[in-house]
């Protein structure tokens, strides 16, 4: 009983402040929020839909193999409120994406920020402008 309660207390207090645990769409242990990876490549697909916009990009690995990564973003309403739209990123556009990768090593992730070819940072969670809940 004591162990169960201790576990419950730990679970209740363990959620990181930057990503609300109690949101529309719980993620649990989907992403490794302590790890960031940098993806350089070209946009291959943008699914501008709720509950979360999904952006896919082709990334060439060190051995030349092409891997398609997908990363989730905020919802359509939240991104629109920040001034982004479904043509902000276009298929074929070169971008750099900083992401928290999947916990199990799959090529999926959640956005930290996107850097455009001219260095402009958009859709940034770092800047506190993108609550991906």
């Amino acid at each position: 009983m004591k162990k169960l309660l201790t576990l419950a207390v730990l679970m209740a207090l363990a959620s990181p402040a930057t990503v609300p645990l109690y949101a529309h769409h719980g993620r649990g242990a989907t992403y490794d929020m302590k790890k960031q990876v940098t993806l350089k490549g070209t946009v291959s697909r943008v699914e501008w839909r709720n509950p979360h916009v999904l952006i896919y990009m082709d990334v060439k690995g060190p051995d030349g193999t092409l891997v398609t990564w997908g990363f989730e973003n905020a919802g359509v309403s939240q991104l629109a409120q920040e001034g982004y739209n479904r043509n902000t990123l276009k298929v074929g556009q070169e971008i750099t994406a900083i992401v928290n990768p999947a916990a199990n090593g799959a090529p999926t992730a959640i956005v930290v920020k996107v850097i455009l070819a001219d260095g402009k940072e958009i859709m940034s969670r770092d800047a506190g402008q993108n609550p991906v809940n």
Partner: protein, 270 residues
């Protein structure tokens, strides 16, 4: 059963501890409204957003009755490791009052005989009748049956809009802690426009079937959002209004949940 109550209470407190004032991105914009001193306290019109996200009534729930414990059984709450089995993960309605305590904006529309609430998430309408009809009770309530958002009547008491809602569908969770509410529960909510920029809301759940005492919620604050903080699909500042936050299973269940679960370290509770 006592063990589940204690754990649910601890998780509820955890949720409260993590209630976040994460609307800071709009703060400068809604603070900009503060100079607008003129307002009609009986006009709630506008688009409003909660200043804190906590997805609950904002206070710890009173102990459940044995029937309440039974109603709560099988509900798995979210943890740091995995999702629970809340109905909204599969696009079922959040129901009242859970939707009211959600993250996204809500619009009040005032009509002669009723007030409408339009919620961005679910793109949902709630009708608060003010045409003098009685709150359904007895055989009338039994005949009407349950509704995800219940049956609501409202009236002004001075400058406070008092809304009572009955006939709620028991399958909808009261909050993220999985607390229940019975079909025979009544929820009283009070709304007060304290200035041009601010609404105060307070909810009390009266449900002797499932709770050993009335569940009195905390006072919640909504702030009025200006047009340029709401925008429809990227027409930034040009086509402002509540957006279409529909939870479509062909987006949420067939695509998003699968995308998310592909990277999950542990399987989901669903």
């Amino acid at each position: 059963m006592r063990r589940f109550t204690l754990i649910a209470l601890v998780l509820s407190l955890g949720a409260l501890a993590h209630a976040q004032d994460d609307k800071s991105k709009f703060k400068a914009r809604y603070d900009a409204n503060a100079g607008d001193k003129k307002f009609d306290p009986h006009d709630l019109s506008g688009i409003w957003t909660l200043t804190k996200n906590d997805h609950s009534l904002g206070t710890p729930a009173p102990p459940l009755t044995p029937a309440g414990e039974a109603a709560r059984a099988g509900r798995v709450v979210d943890t740091g490791a995995a999702n629970g089995n809340a109905p909204w993960y599969t696009c079922n309605p959040m129901g009242f009052p859970r939707l009211m305590n959600d993250d996204e904006p809500m619009e009040f529309i005032t009509l002669p005989n009723r007030v409408l609430q339009v919620f961005q998430w679910e793109h949902r309408i709630r009708m608060l009748w003010m045409d003098g009809r009685a709150l359904p009770s007895g055989e009338n309530l039994e005949n009407l049956g349950p509704a995800w958002y219940g049956h609501s009547v409202a009236k002004w008491n001075g400058n406070t809009l008092v809304v009572n809602t009955v006939g709620l569908d028991e399958r909808a969770w009261l909050d993220n802690a999985g607390n229940p509410k019975s079909f025979h529960a009544r929820i009283e909510e009070t709304w007060r426009r304290v200035d041009s920029n601010t609404l105060e809301l307070q909810l009390t759940l009266h449900d002797p079937e499932y709770y050993t005492a009335p569940y009195v919620g905390s006072k919640k604050i909504y702030k009025r959002m200006p047009a340029d903080a709401t925008t429809y699909f990227g027409w930034y500042g040009l086509f402002a209004g509540i957006t279409e936050g529909i939870c479509a299973p062909m987006n949420e269940v067939d695509v998003y949940n699968k995308f998310r679960d592909a990277g999950r370290a542990q399987p989901s509770g669903r």
